[in-house]
Amino acid sequence: MSRIQARFETLRRAGRKALIPYVTAGDPDPDTTVPLMHAMVEAGADIIELGVPFSDPMADGPVIQAACERALKHHVSLRRVLEMVAEFRRDNDEIPVLLMGYLNPIEAMGSAEFAAAAQQAGVDGVLTVDLPPEEAGELADELKGHGIDPIFLLSPTTTDARVARIAEQASGFLYYVSFKGVTGATRLDVDAVAEKVGHLKSIAALPIGVGFGIRDAESAARVSRAADAVIVGSALVRHIAESTGHPETIRDKVAEELRAMRAAMDATQPAAAVS
């Protein structure tokens, strides 16, 4: 069982939902990232999603675009991100790490080399935003061959037939993008998301995470009632942008935000359904 699968299993037994914070690796500088990952774990993160900076982040809004630009000023490459994961793993063997990024840096390294290096570093899942399942065969096979879960997106435009096909290729969990748009936008409609997640669960057996547009404890809690995982990105990255140059302030603010989300999410769950 992969770390991601194990985590969801533990949470399910405890009647809790996963909190998955996203930060861009190397934002605002490479030294900030690993201590920030540990701080997020301490504040209640179940899985850490680490963005791989890319020069052309087409699916991201201005907040994460700027994060990529800050990281790229320090030339934080995919290889450098893997080093950060390896460094994190020296002190934490339990919390899954998921890389989120775009295909070209992986292509430049080569799928096979990347999958091997990612496994070596202790990566548990890889989400490639611009790689739909139709084109993903080779990379998905390499990842699975190295014990890494290929994570795929579902969106409001994904047809039921596609959901079924995507669920076949994916493992770990499915990432439902809560609205049509880029990261950081504010279009979340919690009721519509809840209904959609219920529908997705009738088609796919994997846990469903929901991301895009979750900005505070309240929206995290409301989404967590329906979803198995809540993914928060821009709301955290905003704190990093505001406190660039002050790594401790960044850690404090991000941790504070996550603690509030964790508490609100845990408070909203129906009494732990221990099975």
């Binding site: 890319f54 020069s55 052309d56 982040p57 087409m58 699916a59 809004g61 201005p62 675009q65 630009e69 790229l72 030339h75 490459s77 995919l78 290889r79 775009y102 295909l103 070209n104 840096p105 992986i106 292509e107 430049a108 390294m109 935003v129 611009d130 790689l131 739909p132 139709e134 084109e135 795929f152 997106l153 579902l154 969106s155 409001p156 435009t157 994904t158 047809t159 596609r162 993008v177 049509k180 748009g181 880029v182 936008a185």
Partner: protein, 409 residues
């Protein structure tokens, strides 16, 4: 019709892309999940309308009465004699409405948008030619229009910015990344994924996810179809070589496509060589890049060792793009077409040569193709024929040329 031996041969170049939009290993659909269904709807709508005689008749009417097609094929005799080699014919896309080949594509996609019931048009632009051509068709159909343009490009193509605004388009300056065409494309993609229900994205070149590279090619192939017929009428035979500049590659593929199966016709695509390939400051992914994935397709890219897209340099905003249409990547690998680069200063020389020798002021993009013709023609015999795609007129570039020469206009 294919004979039994031909049926044994590898598929014709004109049969590509395959059902999933692949040209050999290139092309495909590399987009976020939200766009997968919309691009599939677009593909279906396009495939249906492509077979529809009424749609084709409507398109032909627009190309004739609105764009002014067919564009002339002009024998540049004085220039040919001066170069002392092959006879050079110019396909005069500069004489189209709005002054470039870009309108062939926007007229087609706008009709498609209307058939699909979309009320809002978006586009990206580098030199501003595609933006102007898009704003033009949007004005004509009464559709809302937003054009994304790199802030850097807005500075060097300010007259086109004004033209688009006159036409009623909103021009949004893009401040991210290198502030040029690739960043404008990123921003247009972000708009599209957000407003996909009512919005049609008119991509300006043969890039993007399937079906764009094939669809834009089909709309631009009118260039090559006309040229093929015109040269047979004027010279009684097919040309020996075709030359076109390559930014994303739409004017080049438009000229090449109807000749792809004429193996005796040599094809030359000319990339923006900037300060020279050896300097690294250029916009020539086919000459000096390597395969990767950007903007929805797999193709040759300019990137660093870590797979990050690098900045490009060309005097011509329309060539300043780190990628290239996937069909060109395939034509390169298969050896059917050859890709070369000419530098900024060679292109400027081509600009002046044509202006002085033939009384035609060419776009800086097209001047790259002309500059290569000045190299190729003298190596050929006077009874041989080259067709150069004169993809646009140079009015938009006179400020750039003047500034380069220290002249204030």
């Amino acid at each position: 019709m294919s004979t039994p031996t031909e049926a044994m041969a590898p598929p014709h170049f004109t049969d590509l892309p395959d059902a999933n939009g692949h040209f050999g290993p290139y092309g495909g659909r590399f987009v976020a999940e939200t766009l997968m269904e919309p691009i599939e709807e677009l593909r279906q709508a396009y495939e249906t309308l492509k077979q529809d005689p009424d749609f084709q008749a409507e398109l032909d009417r627009d190309l004739h009465y609105y764009v002014g097609r067919p564009s002339p094929l002009y024998h540049a005799e004085r220039w040919s004699n001066h170069l002392g080699g092959a006879q050079i014919y110019l396909k005069r896309e500069d004489l189209n409405h709005t002054g470039a080949h870009k309108i062939n594509n926007t007229v087609g996609q706008a009709l498609l948008a209307r058939h699909m019931g979309k009320t809002r048009i978006i586009g990206e632009t580098g030199a501003g030619q595609h933006g102007v051509a898009t704003a033009t068709v949007a004005a004509r159909l009464g559709l809302e229009c937003v054009i994304y343009m790199g802030a850097e490009d807005m500075k060097r193509q300010s007259s086109n910015v004004y033209r688009m605004r006159l036409l009623g388009a909103e021009v949004v300056g893009v401040e991210s990344g290198s502030k040029t065409l690739k960043d404008a494309l990123n921003e247009a993609m972000r708009d599209w994924v957000t407003n996909v229900d009512n919005t049609f994205y008119i991509i300006g070149t043969v890039a993007g996810p399937h079906p764009y590279p094939a669809m834009v090619r089909d709309f631009q192939a009118v260039i090559g179809r006309e040229a093929r017929q015109q040269i047979q009428e004027q010279a009684g035979r097919l040309p020996d070589a075709l030359i076109a500049c390559v930014g994303g590659g739409s004017n080049a593929i438009g000229l090449f496509y109807p000749f792809l199966d004429d193996s005796e016709v040599a094809l030359y695509g000319v990339e923006g060589g900037g300060d020279g390939i050896d300097t690294g400051r250029h916009a020539a992914p086919l000459c000096a890049g390597r395969p990767g994935v950007l903007h929805g397709n797999r193709t040759y890219l300019m990137e660093d060792n870590d797979g990050l897209i690098t900045e490009t340099h060309s005097i011509s905003a329309g060539l300043d793009y780190p990628g290239v249409g996937p069909e060109h990547a395939w034509l390169k690998d298969s050896g059917r077409a050859r890709y070369v680069a000419v530098t900024d200063s060679e292109a400027l020389q081509g600009f002046h040569d044509l202006t002085r020798m033939e009384g035609i002021i060419p776009a800086l993009e097209s001047s790259h193709a002309l500059a290569y013709a000045t190299k190729l023609a003298p190596t050929m015999a006077p009874d041989q024929i080259i067709i150069v795609n004169l993809s646009g007129r140079g009015d938009k570039d006179i400020h750039t040329v003047a500034a380069h020469e220290g002249i204030e206009v």
